[in-house]
Amino acid sequence: MSWLTEYVRPKIRTLLGRRDVPENLWVQCPACEQMMFHTDLEKNLKVCTHCGHHMRASVTERLAWTFDAGSFARIELPKTPADPLRFRDSQRYTERLKSAREKTGLDDALVVAHGAVGGHRAVVAVMVFEFMGGSMGAAVGEGLLAAARLAVLQEAPLIVFTASGGARMQEGAVSLMQMPRTVIATQLVKEAGLPFIVVLTDPTTGGVTASFTMLGDIQIAEPGALIGFAGARVIEQTVREKLPEGFQRAEYLLEHGILDMVVKRTELAATLARIIGLLRVKELEAA
């Protein structure tokens, strides 16, 4: 419990008055290339009003869309060694971290918050693709463990929104070890009899898929999300075959039995609320 009293500093944030965008700003859909009003796109949760293409969302948007009335409290996550390998390629890893922090205003590629989803207490962790491709190093692993512990403490389900290119290469084998460590996070939640729900968003690939991501009690994906273990290019080079239409997309995974459902973003919060309600029989009986 000590880590919690130490790290939790609730900050209530809401969607309202978040930023000022001129109402008449036009946005083009990257899928169908049609134009729409920025405000219409925002109202439709960044889903194209013409073709239904789901555009990538920011963490703030995710949290606001998921929690009731867009209200939640973020928790501060445990600190981890910043650069375990003293890694550098064309740039030092510490420099890359610094610029990712400046760009996103976040410490690393995971944000954890708690609040209510459909009237149910819930802990939500969101991976941040804008932060070094959402790659998983020690900070993300430790953050997921913190989210799991918070869920257990609050007797609340854990919902994780995934978005990641895979392992944080700059942390080498330390990054690889986050696979078993995040599997342990899922075990903590499940052993407490709490639902672990994964929402896979575009894109979720590599070591992140081959650990906690695929161990949800319920596996949900957003339409069109790219989800896979191996990269498409690597597969093409290995098998020297053309990849099938829609390969590694959410609908393909649903068809192959890997997901429970593909849910439109506009219906996601309601779906999560319904699932939590249905899975929390024990909680209701105890009350």
Binding site: G172, A173, M179, V183, I184, T209, A230
Partner: protein, 318 residues
């Protein structure tokens, strides 16, 4: 015929000369024996010097050496009464993952290994050690079986990684690996993993989330291959030697990062020069790792193993 690696050329030249001399008839020279002895000593010195300061990229070559003992050799040498078990009970048998029951130093154990093969025929038969979902599902099945019957699990890991294929993805490669990791972590029996050659990413950790993780002296263990990392971060696969250095993939590095438990010394010039000696050393290391684990009950083992992985990375610093 011995396979020499590029950086072993000076040794190869000397040993080539020795071979030539041995083929000369006694009549041709008087001091052949003396010359052979002199060259042998020189080759030995050269080998010792080379192997004393292998770069991470050179270690990668040694770890992938065709003559290195493979999982199959480990099982053949270390495991008595080996009884292979096949299949994931859902789709197929995957020959990239060997598995079965047998005895290690008299004790009944479950054995798992990723097998690369050592010539063209066996490499193809074992899919170059790259497992498909069925391989990981078979591993999970056998780990669970071991748990029910109280058999310690020994794994021999040697893989460039999980197979990147269309069908592998369609049948849930990621889920299969995740479940295999979960099975390792949940086993109520000791799990001792040995990285014997190449510990390639998720395909390796799937069989290596154990109580004790050993690495052979010249094995490598990495989140991505040096070539893969180089082509992504340096945009040039030829930078693999640089990436190998940066990724900290050697047994020494992993030990220093507190991610593995022990390093198994190899004979001079690597396990490929003297597989019998290498495997004897491996057997001793496995025996030493297993012994203290045998005193714990199932829940105790699971809790210790969990704590071990939870502690990883908290103070990992090269």
């Amino acid at each position: 015929m011995r396979h020499y690696l590029d950086f072993e050329k000076p040794v190869a030249d000397l040993e080539g000369k020795i071979e030539e001399l041995r083929h000369l008839s006694e009549a041709d020279g008087i001091n052949i024996a003396d010359e052979v002895a002199r060259l042998t000593e020189k080759a030995d010195r050269q080998l010792r010097a080379t192997y004393a300061k292998l770069t991470p990229w050179q270690k990668t070559q040694v770890a992938r050496h065709p003559d290195r003992p493979k999982a199959r050799d480990c099982i053949a040498t270390l495991i008595a009464e080996y009884t292979p078990l096949a299949g994931d009970r859902a789709f197929a048998e995957d020959s990239a993952v060997l598995g079965g029951i047998g005895r290690f130093r008299g004790r009944a154990v479950m054995v798992l290994g990723t097998e690369k093969g050592s010539d063209t025929e066996t490499r193809i038969a074992h899919n170059f050690g790259m497992a498909r979902p069925e391989g990981y599902r078979k591993a999970r099945r056998l780990i669970e079986l071991a748990g029910r019957f109280g058999l310690p699990v020994l794994t021999f890991v040697d893989t460039s990684g999980a197979f990147p294929g269309i069908e592998a993805e369609a049948r849930g490669q990621a889920e299969a690996i995740a479940r295999s990791i979960e099975a390792c972590l949940s086993a109520p029996v000791p799990v001792v993993a040995a990285i014997i050659g190449e510990g390639g990413s998720g395909g390796a950790i799937a069989l290596a989330a154990g109580d004790a993780v050993l690495m052979m002296e010249h094995a490598v263990y990495s989140v991505i291959s040096p070539e893969g990392c180089a082509s992504i971060l340096w945009r040039d696969a030829a930078q693999a030697p640089v990436a190998a250095e940066a990724l900290r993939i050697t047994a020494d590095d992993l030990k220093r990062l507190k991610l593995i438990d022990a390093i198994v010394p190899e004979p001079l010039g690597g396990a490929q020069r003297d597989p019998a000696a290498a495997l004897a050393g491996l057997a001793d290391a496995i025996g030493a790792a297993l012994a203290p684990l045998l005193g714990h009950d199932g829940p105790g083992l699971i809790a210790r193993r969990r704590e071990k992985f939870l502690a990883m990375g908290r103070d990992s610093l090269i």
